[in-house]
Symmetry: C3
Amino acid sequence: MVKYWGKDNVVWQDKMVEIDFPHVIHAQQFSLDDLEKLFMLTAILKQQIGKGKKKDWLNGNIVLNLIYEPSTRTMTSFSVAGLRLGADVITPADPAKLSSVIKGETLEDSIRIYADKVDVIILRHKDDDSALRASRSRFCQGVPIINAGAGKGQHPTQSLLDYFTIRERFGRIEGLIVAICGDLKHGRTSRSLAYLLSKYKGVEIYFVAPQVAQMSPDVLDYLTSHNVKWHQSETLKEVISFVDVCYMTRFQTEREDPEEKEIMAHASMVNVIDEQLAESMKDDAIIMHPLPRIHEIKWGVDKNKRSVYFLQALNGDYIRMALLLCILNPDKVEKLLASAA
Amino acid sequence: MVKYWGKDNVVWQDKMVEIDFPHVIHAQQFSLDDLEKLFMLTAILKQQIGKGKKKDWLNGNIVLNLIYEPSTRTMTSFSVAGLRLGADVITPADPAKLSSVIKGETLEDSIRIYADKVDVIILRHKDDDSALRASRSRFCQGVPIINAGAGKGQHPTQSLLDYFTIRERFGRIEGLIVAICGDLKHGRTSRSLAYLLSKYKGVEIYFVAPQVAQMSPDVLDYLTSHNVKWHQSETLKEVISFVDVCYMTRFQTEREDPEEKEIMAHASMVNVIDEQLAESMKDDAIIMHPLPRIHEIKWGVDKNKRSVYFLQALNGDYIRMALLLCILNPDKVEKLLASAA
Amino acid sequence: MVKYWGKDNVVWQDKMVEIDFPHVIHAQQFSLDDLEKLFMLTAILKQQIGKGKKKDWLNGNIVLNLIYEPSTRTMTSFSVAGLRLGADVITPADPAKLSSVIKGETLEDSIRIYADKVDVIILRHKDDDSALRASRSRFCQGVPIINAGAGKGQHPTQSLLDYFTIRERFGRIEGLIVAICGDLKHGRTSRSLAYLLSKYKGVEIYFVAPQVAQMSPDVLDYLTSHNVKWHQSETLKEVISFVDVCYMTRFQTEREDPEEKEIMAHASMVNVIDEQLAESMKDDAIIMHPLPRIHEIKWGVDKNKRSVYFLQALNGDYIRMALLLCILNPDKVEKLLASAA
């Protein structure tokens, strides 16, 4: 089987464990070379597959969407990816309300049962280490797990589609100036983005949030130790004119502390991209958002050429196709890459 | 692309807007010629496709059931229609409970995201103008929307299957005498039926309901202005012997006013079709019901040759197949119609 | 159509009625000869179909999972069975919350509507006689019903997979000593197992449970009248060393009577299979469980060669494939059996 992503090591339950291929557990397990190949494959798929099109490259395979936390969008994206490649897809409705789960069955037992039946499991679960736990179960060796969102932790396919979209527009990630705006303290997307950007030379990051919602020190220290230049800012207006990428996320105003709540409410009103602000950006800059957006970006901005948030969602389908193909039909991957070379 | 239904204009948000092809938003957008062709196609599909049969005419297409309001029956019917024609079908469970919706995402944003991924969206939503809004979003031009029930408003595939069923039995709609019985004030099926019948010459309608549940004046005025003869009646018994079609619907007894509640309860007991009443109908008359029925029609009536309510449900599959085929593979439609001519 | 299971008679609504082919309503409808052929077919399918594999033997058929009670596992198993054989599968989310059901539609009406649309209905419903009622409806003759769990009553595919697993391991069922442990009074699996074991000569059964949870007298009388040796025991330890099969089920500790509750809690602590107990079993004995298990079997036992509970779950897919194939493509069944002879 081809290996499009390297093994990685993480501390889990107080010991160092390996992220095993072909599970897709966290975005960091991909080396720059891995990413380069994965993005090349994604671009090829995007050229060849679209509306009304279906390939037979995954015929005979069953994709199981095991989605314990509501996530119609991610589920639909994986379903589209599987179906357009010829796989079948099974999506149980609300497995979290399963009688077996209510009775107290462990995640490991649940996974174990499905492991024998299907060809790949897409897992979304409230526990931060759910995908890792599932993949490390001795009994799950027979089935690859793709992490589709683990609690407040990793959501690697979201990170990969973000990267792919940046790279697709700029042809590179090195040297870009990126603003990340929103509730950075609680946003898993923001954390993942910061970690992954640190792999590229010359990237400079502006974290835009009030102090109560600023990026955690562990991420900032990590960036410093990897020689990534970073800055903090309170408002978008200070940075919008010179960044290449403005990555917006939601300001989560649900806070217990009334003072914090007020600060967040204020920040969510101040840090809104409207048409005027969008036009003040560099000509080739892009505005990103993991969606859903509420009012962080005004509807009028959608038609601005800098807006790529709906494109991100579409790119997600192709990233997921690429991963499924790498896992289930690596020979086809080799052929596609060779013919494109 | 073939055009099997005309454009129509409606007043929406205080201005006149166009129902755009190939969206299917309301039943009135179909001209009599459109209907004639659509029904011919439906009849052809009914002959060629049945149990154990599947065509490849929609291969490569993905149908998305975006069903915000519970509606297993309509969802299943669209799924059967898509699958028997070779399409793939994705049905998210309960999108109304989606985190994105709960967070406040607009319908337009949701549709926009799915518009890029799939080939047609079946939309059922609590808002009366949901399908129209979705279809008019500038960003949804890439994906046809089929209205599968919009709040208390339109449910065009239900209307079309009703029409097809009448036409299938009588070979015509002109000149028929139709009784519509039930809670006409709140029933969207009854309203749609009345509007569509007005397109045909010589149709005569009897609205059977107590005054508190009678058809709204706007519909009655519309009929008068289109020279359709209509009458009001309190009980089925007065009209059952001479009508060609008896269209039953449920009496909704959930009323706040205690007097109205009593009137409705009485009406629901009086206006029941039992075996004796069914036999008192004209020999070739038919009994229709959009289902589910509760006790408006006794079980014993099911075996009466006049009962066509289960046939209506089956015809719904073929009407939906016909619409999907017109939208996604118009060339095949031309060939089927030509070979049948 | 081939007939792989005999007709059976049951008392229903105070009269004797026939279980009609090709409905699959209860496990007892299968004669020993039926079972022999069904298991042979299951074994053939298990050899030929696995991960990444799909046959076209059910192309054009639609399987409808009509699952009124939460049951992701059974639903997934039927879906895998249908998809791997080439069928399409439709699974409405939570039909029990259907507006039609809430409005008061009968099960018969619901089934009637789907009967025309799909090729086989998998029914799980809270009523003990649901599958029988559905299959006996005059209007459902057009669609086979497979009972996927009827209230506290039958769950025939679970029984069949249990049998298949025993037979697969031992090559026979005759003469085996079987312990059935758990809340036997309320467990439908335990009842079904006991009934079916009575078909085989020389089987001896040990019912392991405290008196308040012991097997009902009707089952015990039935066994006695069929010359099956049975015994009652309070703890697993008394019997574990000499049984061939130890069938574990959950101890349901939800009791109103506080004394009973305590007895059950005690029983659930005492009757646990740990690694030591597993090792004390005969060398070729097997440990079974319908799953989910909570703590009746320790995780460490999973790697013991005697543990077959996850294998049971997998075998369920093949039993269900075999049933679907017998119902929808009997010609293929004949060919498969002939080529294996």
